[in-house]
């Protein structure tokens, strides 16, 4: 110990200086680095056309409640943003969002607060359809029409209209693109690899089933699939292992463009150019990749613009109007979006609709 006690008087001050310097530097950095570019673009709002007929004209003033999970993912973030942007476009609409949360319990009480606030319609993306079914039913029983966004309630008495994406169709679209491209290339026994999202979710299983079914029509099948967790990091981890497992790959479908950033990084790090890749969801970043003509050749949409459509539909329902392009006097009970395939040919058209991941 002696040698350390001897130089003690000098060291603390030196360290103190260093430490102080570091803190000061950290402070400056903190001030400089927390900012993100404030310019927010809401592409859906800019490009979407206002509904046909005279539906866009101001009508009876209505209040629309909105509840969605907290965004831990670009897609969910885009859902809330699109809903908000759409609501701003109507002078007759008061938008009442509640604090987004990933806690089922909190979402239930948030929806209850909207019910007691007597909103005219309720747009609801539940954390879990099964678990929020009761409270949605309560809203319907109280005479508030519920517009169920994407994750469906099991009980049809719990919602007036469902609007959402088509997971099976997404797999089908990806499968058709892969199948067609491989036929063009004349590959006989292709190695097709799939990077899934969370494997236990029904939506992942539907996507995989659609993919397999579509491939079957070309006589192809999936060689290997592995699940990531919708995050960049897990996408990177799974893809880098999968690339090791398969020295030759002809096509890769990645279910989700957010985790796709990690998948693309893994492909680049492995220096692989032997296959083409198809993405899923339709993020702006994926579309930029497609445009630049790298390994990512296409993506199949599962567009968060559905939130904007849901707000639009909620307004019509609350005002008792129908959809102008349809015969019926009221909004339909269910609206399933189709999964569109974005390729280099049509990417410019889709770019404004892509969400920032």
């Amino acid at each position: 110990m002696s040698e350390h006690t001897s130089d003690r008087p000098t060291t603390p001050s030196r360290r103190g200086l260093l430490f102080g310097g570091a803190l000061a530097a950290a402070g400056t950095l903190a001030a400089a680095c927390t900012g993100n570019d404030p310019k927010e673009t809401t592409p859906a709002a800019q490009t979407g056309n206002l509904g046909g007929g005279d539906n866009a004209k101001p009508g009876r003033p209505v209040t629309i409640g909105f509840s969605a999970p907290a965004a831990d993912h670009g897609w969910i973030a885009a859902i809330t943003k699109n809903a908000q942007a759409e609501a701003k476009r109507y002078s007759d609409l008061t938008f009442k969002p509640v604090e987004p949360t990933n806690d089922i319990n909190q979402q239930i009480s948030a929806v209850e607060s909207l019910i007691s606030a007597k909103v005219n319609a309720l747009v609801l993306l539940p954390n879990d359809g099964e678990q929020l079914n009761q409270v949605a039913r309560k809203a319907m029983d109280a005479g508030i029409p519920v517009i169920n966004l994407d994750r469906v309630f099991p009980d049809k008495l719990s919602y007036r209209t469902w609007i959402g994406g088509d997971n099976y169709g997404m797999g089908v679209a990806a499968g058709h693109h892969v199948g067609r491209r491989l036929k063009e290339k004349g590959v006989a026994k292709p190695v097709i690899v799939e990077v899934q999202g969370i494997a236990t979710l029904p939506l992942t299983q539907e996507r995989s089933k659609g993919f397999a079914d579509a491939l079957k029509t070309y006589g192809f099948s999936v060689t290997a699939k592995q699940d990531a967790k919708f995050t960049v990091e897990t996408g990177n981890q799974v893809a880098s292992n999968l690339l090791q497992a398969h020295k030759k790959i002809d096509a890769l479908w990645n279910h989700d463009d957010d985790q796709g950033v990690g998948v693309l990084a893994a492909v680049k790090q492995a220096g692989r150019k032997d296959f083409f890749m198809v993405g899923g969801a339709g993020s702006a970043n994926a579309m930029r990749e497609i445009k630049s003509g790298g390994v990512l050749e296409a993506t199949v949409t599962y567009s968060p613009t559905m939130a904007a459509s849901a707000v639009r539909v909620a307004r019509l329902i609350a005002q008792g109007k129908g959809m102008a392009d349809l015969m019926e006097l009221q909004v339909p009970q269910s609206l399933t979006l189709t999964s569109e395939t974005v390729t280099r040919q049509n990417v410019d058209q889709y770019l404004p609709l892509g969400f920032e991941s």
């Binding site: 110990m1 950290a26 831990d72 995050t231």
Partner: protein
Amino acid sequence: MTAGDTDLKTAAVPKAPRVRREVHHIGLVAALVLLALVGVVTEPDNFATSGNVAGILALAATIGVITVGMTFVIIGGGIDLSVGALMALASVWATTLATQSYGPVVMVVCALLVGTGAGLVNGLLIAYGRLVPFIATLAMLVAARGLAQRMSDRKTQLVRPENDAIEALSTTKVLGLPLVVFIFAAVAAAGWVLLNRTTFGRRTFAVGGNPEAARLAGIDVRRHTLMSYALSGLCCGVAAIIIMARTTTGSSTHGDLYELDAIAAVIIGGTLLTGGRGTLAGSILGVLVFTLITNLFILNGLQTSDQLIAKGAIIVVAVLLQRRGLRAPT
């Protein structure tokens, strides 16, 4: 090294367990060899390739660097639950547009400072605020993730093309290995020297073994505790750089459940959760065992759920063996 130091060490760590620790390492090395054999047998074409080995090491780099810091904290009698969140926060802070406008060097410095700074806060709360480490770092976990989400607006922040020097850390290869693997190796080597060849390391064992005795022996226990959490934070900053290089992003979702992976690796590496005893080599071997399992499962096309079961079983077996090792010879 002085006489006082040696005394302190023998007082805190009796001779016998040292031998057993070596034996434990043999067990871990055997597990690694066994897993490698499984790989060679089941996937002869893909497993034993230089590309796969490089891939495994690169995957192990993030969690490995974090485990180095965690080893110090746990040997010192603490625990750090905030590591995954700190890595996420550092990666987000370093990839905001404002930080990125200063270039890759500032991004790296920013990640290191954010990690160290948050680690210092942990240390201050625990050493001077007298909070239980579990609670202080749990609070940091929640708060740091929240801050990361707020700062990134819950988006994935891409490393911009002009800062591709960051990505080059994982695309540039030296001797067939990406640079991130060398960062991992350097951190592990530095950690080993710090733990085994310096007073700081010796004090870590002393503080973890018996803080009161350490205090009576003239160690500033509180300052030492502060330093060890700062060190853990610094490691999270380094890990953030690696994850930015590998994924080309900063995101509040990075490092999910890393705290559990790191603690598990430290534990199967033979470090006592109560502190005072442990080795860095064991922790690194623990990380490699886990990464190897993930690799083997994916090579063989098995699902992640089975991986989790296997990892759980390995933790239990390792700890059971460790307890036998502690009891048997006496």
